[in-house]
Symmetry: C2
Subunit: 213 residues, 2 copies
């Protein structure tokens, strides 16, 4: 295997989008697609698409386009799908439950194995038959014992850093943060922030200035 | 007022982030900040920050930096904050409720006035004293009568386009879409998509390739 190239964050952001469209094509039983057709679907230029996909290998064939199944499998492999990722959620409010249930449908190997909360009224309750709310106090040990890959923060802003510290000390490799704050983490842990208010403000700016993405 | 310049989507995305850091500085009673200090906070380069903020007016003063209050107020004005935005949510499951309650805390003028669902067990229920779940069948009329600005889609993928069509027909100016599908909307409506699975895949890619943003 050749040395991994450095891929820009913008390309990484586009990959899941390509994947989504390819999944749709597959479910419509379409077996090949050109970069021009992908351009119409995704809104990226055909040349950008070719450049993006070239980062990851020789998926295309000139004059033929891309084999949908091969490209889909290739993108899954590049992202790292095709294996199981174990996740826990800190904060069992509406957002935590929404993520727990939403995730249930992904069917791409992401399993929420437990939620954690400090509220005694919630601890011990079941979200689903196979999913329970446990005590924050037991979170570090649980993560270590169960080899959890990803910790999801659905707490308030004030609790978020403390939760992240526990996640990192317990050995998660990634944090998905929904709390509206930027968290400090060690270099060996990756983080994805979902700042909902930032997204809302970006929408409002565009509404007020009538520009769409 | 001079003609509005065309602002790239990347700049629009950074604005709310500047706003967040300025809010923190204000609550720490810090009254001025240099582009270098903003760079350390935000992770963007000082020259990028100066370039970004220059798009919107003369906020900075050479050798002095930025007045935090003035810059904060300026960014709020550029985004379009300082007025009220009325929003409704389609889909009163966990995610819809999470957004409804989350939003409650923003305190920046965004008010969810109603949730809508088709489930008879949910219709009529109250989320809070001032917030009720209403029937999908009444959504169009409600939006028209109450002059709703933003429609939020928290339904399944399958219902999302139909909901968006009702939102647009009823006259919303923006759609905040949490359903995992790209929706077609007319040119006069703006949309912000929150594709949670895309974000998760981007995190996983970085975990597997040990790169952080």
């Amino acid at each position: 295997m050749k040395q991994k190239p450095i891929i820009s964050n913008a390309v990484i952001r586009r990959l899941p989008r390509y994947r989504r469209y390819l999944r749709e094509l597959r479910s419509s039983r379409i077996d090949k697609v050109s970069s021009k057709e992908l351009s119409e679907l995704t809104g990226y230029t055909a040349s950008q698409i070719r450049q993006d996909l070239n980062h990851f290998g020789d998926f295309g064939q000139q004059g033929y386009g891309y084999n949908v199944d091969v490209l889909y499998a290739g993108i899954n492999a590049v992202i790292g799908l095709g294996r199981t990722y174990k996740m826990v959620i800190a904060g069992a409010g509406n957002l935590g439950r929404a993520i727990a249930n939403h995730n249930y449908y992904y069917k791409t190997g992401f399993i929420v194995t437990a939620l954690f909360d400090k509220n005694p009224d919630l601890i011990g309750r079941k979200i689903r038959e196979d999913l329970q709310i446990l005590d924050y106090a037991d979170m570090k040990e649980y993560i270590e014992k169960n080899d959890i890959d990803i910790g999801i923060i659905c707490t308030t802003k004030d609790a978020a850093q403390e939760i992240a510290d526990i996640f990192c000390a317990a050995g998660v490799k990634g944090i998905w943060n929904f709390a509206p704050i930027d968290i400090e983490i060690p270099d060996n842990v990756c983080i994805e922030n979902v700042h909902l208010s930032d997204m809302l403000y970006s929408l409002v700016y565009r509404m007020n200035n009538k520009t769409n993405e």
